[in-house]
C-alpha cells in the first residue's frame, strides 16, 4: 500500500524488476487515478461528462503520468513525499492536456487579433477628477509603452494573455517559441510597463484601489 512505502522504498520498488516493480506501478496508478478522478469531478468545465467518462479520463491521465514519472525517477530529490511529487507530475500532465484540448483549434490570429486597450471606457464610470486623471495617465502610459517600446511579439503575447488568458504553453507553441522564452518576453514587457508607470509616480495598487 502507498501509505506504507517510504520515499526510498518507492524509488527502489519502481526501479526493481518483476513482481516488486509491477506492484509498485499498480499502487502508484491506483493512487493517481483516484485523486485525479476526484479532482476532475469537481471541475465545472467537465460537468457534462458522466462518472464513467471521468473515470476513464482519470485512468488515461494516470497511465500517461506513470510513464512520465518512471522516466523522471532519477530527478526525484526527496524534497517532498514521493506521492506528492508524483501527483504534481500527474496534475501537470492532466491540466496541460485539458488546456491544449481547450485551445486546440484556436489560431494565433484569433488569439491575438482582437483586444486593444481602449481608454474611452474610463469616462463611463462616475469618478472624482483625481481618479479620472489617474486612470487617464495609466492608460496613456500603457498605450505609449505598448506602441513605442514593446516589440510586436511582446504586444501580441501580452494582449493574448491579458484579454483571453491564453495559457503560456499554448501561446508559446503558436508563436513558435518555448514557454520559458515566452515568459521572459512577457516579464520584460511587464517590467518596462511598471518602470514607466513608476516614473510618473503611479503605483498599480493605487490605481486598482480606484476600481473598487
Amino acid at each position: 500500500m502507498t501509505g506504507e512505502r517510504s520515499n526510498e522504498a518507492w524509488v527502489a520498488d519502481l526501479q526493481a524488476e518483476g513482481p516488486r516493480r509491477e506492484a509498485a506501478v499498480r499502487d502508484l496508478l491506483v493512487w493517481l487515478e483516484r485523486r485525479l478522478f476526484f479532482y476532475l469531478r469537481e471541475r465545472s468545465d467537465l460537468r457534462d461528462l458522466s462518472e464513467d467518462e471521468l473515470a476513464q479520463m482519470a485512468a488515461d491521465f494516470a497511465q500517461e503520468s506513470v510513464l512520465i514519472i518512471l522516466e523522471k525517477l532519477d530527478q526525484f530529490k526527496g524534497h517532498s513525499k514521493f506521492t506528492t511529487w508524483a501527483t504534481k507530475i500527474a496534475v501537470h500532465q492532466a491540466l496541460g492536456e485539458l488546456r491544449r484540448a481547450r485551445w486546440r483549434d484556436v489560431s494565433l490570429e484569433a488569439l491575438t487579433a482582437e483586444g486593444q486597450l481602449d481608454p474611452t471606457f474610463l469616462l463611463s464610470d462616475p469618478l472624482t477628477p483625481e481618479e479620472a486623471s489617474l486612470r487617464r495617465a495609466v492608460v496613456d502610459t500603457v498605450m505609449d509603452v505598448m506602441n513605442t517600446e514593446l516589440s510586436e511579439r511582446q504586444r501580441r503575447a501580452l494582449m493574448a494573455r491579458l484579454v483571453q488568458e491564453v495559457p503560456i504553453e499554448v501561446l508559446a507553441e503558436q508563436m513558435n517559441t518555448n514557454p520559458n522564452a515566452l515568459y521572459k518576453l512577457l516579464h520584460d514587457a511587464r517590467k518596462r510597463l511598471k518602470v514607466r508607470l513608476q516614473e510618473r509616480g503611479i503605483s498599480p495598487e493605487e490605481v486598482l484601489a480606484t476600481f473598487g
Binding site: R35, L36, F38, Y39, E42, H79, S80, K81, T84, W85, T87, K88, A90, V91, H92, A94, L95, R99, E114, G115, Q116, L117, D118, P119, T120, F121, S124, V138, V139, V142, M143, M146, N147, R155, L158, M159, R161, L162, V163, E165, P167, I168, E169, P179, N180, Y183, K184, H187, R190, K191, L193, K194, L197, S203, P204, E205, V207, L208, F211
Partner: protein
Amino acid sequence: MDMHNALPPSEHQATLTRLLHMLAVTEERELSCEEVFELVDYCAELQSAGIAVQDVLPAVANHLRLCADCADEYRALLRCLGMAGDETTATA
C-alpha cells in the same frame, strides 16, 4: 495601436485590471514556470503543515499570483492531496 475595436468597455476594464494586478507583483527577478514546478510539491506540503508559502518562498507565491496556469495546477495539486483551498492564487 488601433483604438477602435470590438471589445466591450467591461472587457477593457477587466483587461486593464488584470494588467495592473500583474504589474503590482512584477519583480526584477522572477521564477519561471519551470522553476516553480520544481518547488510546488514542497510548497504544497508546507502549506498542509500550516506554513504560508509567502513566508518561506515568496518568489513562488509571487509567481502563483502572476501565472494563472501555475496557480491552477497548484490548486489542483492541493485538491488532489486532499488539502482545502488556498490563498495563493493568481489574480490574472
